[in-house]
């Protein structure tokens, strides 16, 4: 029993020393992380906090906010306030804009998946030394400003544009089909703008695809379609998930495309938000709309990733 005490004392000293070195290591770790944390705080959390705070204030008459607490911005999202007696009546105006935006963004995502998948497969099946050239061509439009590219699309689809002129010239139609300033125009514009975001991750996962697996499936009586469904698509799943996320999010918040191609008549969420900080001078409502958009994106992403992950594991 007698030698237990000194031993415990040594143990305690050792433990103390260890605690001190570990403490030092922890401090050093925080010091190294601090620049990153500062940037995330300054450019990520801080603006988000401002947005959150502003959404609970009252609009100033010439833009900006008055520092008066109010939930009006969120109420306004679902209800119309009568100017005379302050009664609330349900209004679906903004919900509709959200629904339309989600619909268009989903459509653009599916559309670019349908176009992007064969494109990515085509590139991935080229000899290795040619692939970079094809990838370069896919990303080439990105070298030109989005605004310019959108004007180019506008020129193509307008009534006097190349599509209508050539359709009239071939005699298929005798009146120009009015694509510009419709949802179709926005749809085309969104797909065009975000297609590379779909193609690149798809290519990344298709390029890793072991072509011998495709041959094995052919050998085991799988037709071309079955090979696609049972081998290629499951193996490309990470790319499909990534591509869909990368197209859906920016498409949902798109501003320039609906502004130019929708002619300002066909609003998407991005335009709605921009309008609140501009013409409508309702900053709190703009902030609220932005936050609601963020929540919608986060919830749908979580659901999507959960679902696609589960399906991936469930196979087999």
């Amino acid at each position: 029993m007698t030698d237990v005490t000194p031993q415990t004392a040594t143990d305690a000293r050792l433990a103390e020393a260890r605690r001190q070195t570990m403490g030092a290591a922890r401090r050093r770790r925080w010091q190294l992380l601090s620049p990153a944390l500062l940037i995330i705080g300054l450019f990520g959390l801080f603006p988000l906090t401002i947005t959150l705070v502003y959404s609970f204030l009252s609009p100033g008459s010439y833009g900006g906010v008055r520092w008066e607490f109010s939930t009006d911005a969120y109420v306004q999202f679902l209800f119309d306030r009568d100017i005379f007696d302050d009664t609330l009546s349900f209004s679906a105006t903004y919900l509709n804009i959200f629904a339309r935006s989600i619909g268009l963004a989903l459509g653009a995502t599916i559309g670019s998946l349908i176009i992007g998948f064969p494109t990515a497969y085509f590139i991935a099946s080229k000899p290795a030394n040619q692939r970079n050239l094809w990838l370069f061509l896919i990303t080439l439009p990105f070298w030109v400003n989005l605004l310019i590219r959108t004007y180019a699309i506008l020129l193509i689809i307008r009534d006097e544009g190349i599509i209508n002129l050539s359709l009239i010239w071939t005699g298929l139609i005798d009146q120009p089909i009015g694509i510009l300033y419709t949802d179709t125009a926005i749809f085309i514009g969104l797909i065009y703008s975000y297609l590379p975001f779909m193609v690149l991750p798809l290519y990344a996962s298709l390029e890793k695809l072991d072509f011998r697996l495709v041959e094995a499936a052919y050998d085991l009586y799988a037709s071309r379609l079955q090979v696609l469904r049972h081998v290629i698509v499951p193996m490309a799943k990470p790319g499909i998930v990534a591509g869909c996320i990368l197209v859906f999010i920016p498409a949902l918040g798109a501003y320039i495309t609906p502004d130019l191609l929708g002619g300002g008549k066909q609003l998407m969420i991005g335009n709605l938000i921009a309008l609140q900080f501009g013409g409508s001078r309702n900053w709190p409502f703009g902030a609220a709309a932005a936050l609601i958009l963020m929540v919608v994106v986060m919830v749908s992403l979580t659901v999507y990733v959960r679902y696609s992950g589960k399906e991936g594991n469930g196979r087999g």
């Binding site: 697996l213 094995a216 499936a217 052919y218 050998d219 799988a222 049972h230 196979r315």
Partner: protein, 371 residues
């Protein structure tokens, strides 16, 4: 006079009746590339593979073994010639319409599916009923002794286990022909021996025609019913392991399989005998179509040569022992011939001494080689 009937010239139709033939390839030519870089992977290949046989394609790297398998499976189309499967021309059929399955060298198991689903994949794609797929999968799992691993992901299997799954997957749809492209080359020696026996057993139990590719001559000799030796896109000789080993018709075949002594001699008696450099004359086994006179090469296996006294009656050749190497199962005795050249004699027991003069006994008839 010892002419040969066993060795068949690969260019002529074989003795097997048409209804016994599973695969008939006729004048198949396959080239890759264009112009200067053009490679002839298969150069006018004609071969019959019989029903229920374990048929091996043996040859050095790049001789066209894989290419021939891929043509049978339908992954490549021949430039010329045709391939008949069970009497049916299959040239126009894509791989998924041919009753032929492949065991790939890399196994190519689907990593996103369980072992059981991998095995049932072929039947699933054929649209067979669920119950049938289930029974067949279980049967296959039992056949390759993998029942306990049915629900594993394939990336959690050892090399030997993956090999078994690949086999079961290819056998499950009961193809008419199973193609195996060096399926054992990724396994270590012990597992390799085990799988050789396993493969042979599976072939016997299923009665499916196996076309097996290897560049390992020992593997080919132990496993095959018949072997086709290939070189540079041609099939040089087709025969049973014994025929290929004892009566190689071509110099390449003789050289490629096991140790062999190749000596020069001159044909006599219209090809019935051959005159050895030492002056002895022995019987000649002539391959079909070989010239019946002139200088030729003959082949004698080391274990078919005997050591005697230099002046003994059966000493067809004489020489001096230069080296004796013990290798466990016997001795390799190297003898420098008096007429020049060296031969190898393999004996279980020997009392020969290095430097001693010896006589060499050769078989009554020796194999004559065509270049």
């Amino acid at each position: 006079m010892a002419t040969q009937t066993e060795i068949r010239d690969p260019g002529t139709p074989q003795a097997a009746a048409a209804q016994d033939v599973m695969i008939h390839a006729e004048g198949v030519i396959k080239t890759f590339g264009e112009g200067a870089g053009k490679i002839t992977a298969l150069d006018n290949v004609t071969v019959d593979i019989r029903k229920n046989e374990f048929f091996t394609l043996l040859g050095p790297s790049g001789c066209g073994k894989t290419t021939l398998l891929r043509l049978i499976a339908g992954f490549e189309l021949p430039d010329r010639g045709q391939i008949l499967l069970d009497g049916q021309e299959i040239g126009h059929l894509p791989p998924y319409k041919r009753p032929v399955n492949t065991v790939f060298q890399s196994y190519a198991l689907f990593p996103h599916m369980s072992v059981a689903r991998n095995i049932g994949f072929g039947l699933e794609m054929q649209g067979r009923p669920k119950a049938e797929i289930k029974t067949a999968t279980e049967e296959m799992l039992a056949l390759v002794q993998m029942e306990h691993l049915a629900n594993r992901q394939t990336d959690q299997l050892s090399g030997g286990q993956q090999q078994r799954v690949a086999l079961a997957r290819a056998l499950a749809p009961r193809p008419k022909v199973l193609l195996l492209d060096e399926p054992l080359s990724a396994l270590d020696l012990k597992l390799r021996k085990e799988m050789q026996i396993e493969l042979k057993r599976l072939q016997g139990e299923t009665g499916i025609t196996f076309v097996f590719v290897t560049h390992d001559q020992e593997e080919a000799l132990t496993m095959s019913d018949r072997i086709a030796v290939m070189q540079a896109g041609c099939i040089l000789q087709v025969g049973t392991p014994k025929e290929i080993y004892n009566n190689p018709a071509r110099r390449f075949v003789a050289d490629f399989i096991g140790d062999i002594n190749i000596l020069e001699g001159e044909l006599q008696q219209d090809g019935g005998a051959v005159l050895l450099p030492g002056g002895a004359s022995i019987g000649a086994l002539l391959p079909e179509g070989a010239a019946r006179s002139g200088k030729v090469s003959i082949a004698i296996r080391p274990e078919n040569m005997g050591l005697t006294a230099p002046d003994a009656a059966d000493a067809s050749l004489t020489g001096e022992v230069t080296n004796i190497v013990y290798f466990g199962a016997g001795h390799n005795v190297h003898v420098a011939l008096d007429g020049g050249g060296e031969v190898l004699v393999r004996r279980a027991q020997t009392d020969a001494q290095v430097g001693a003069k010896v006589g060499l006994a050769v078989p009554d008839a020796v194999q004559v080689l065509v270049d």
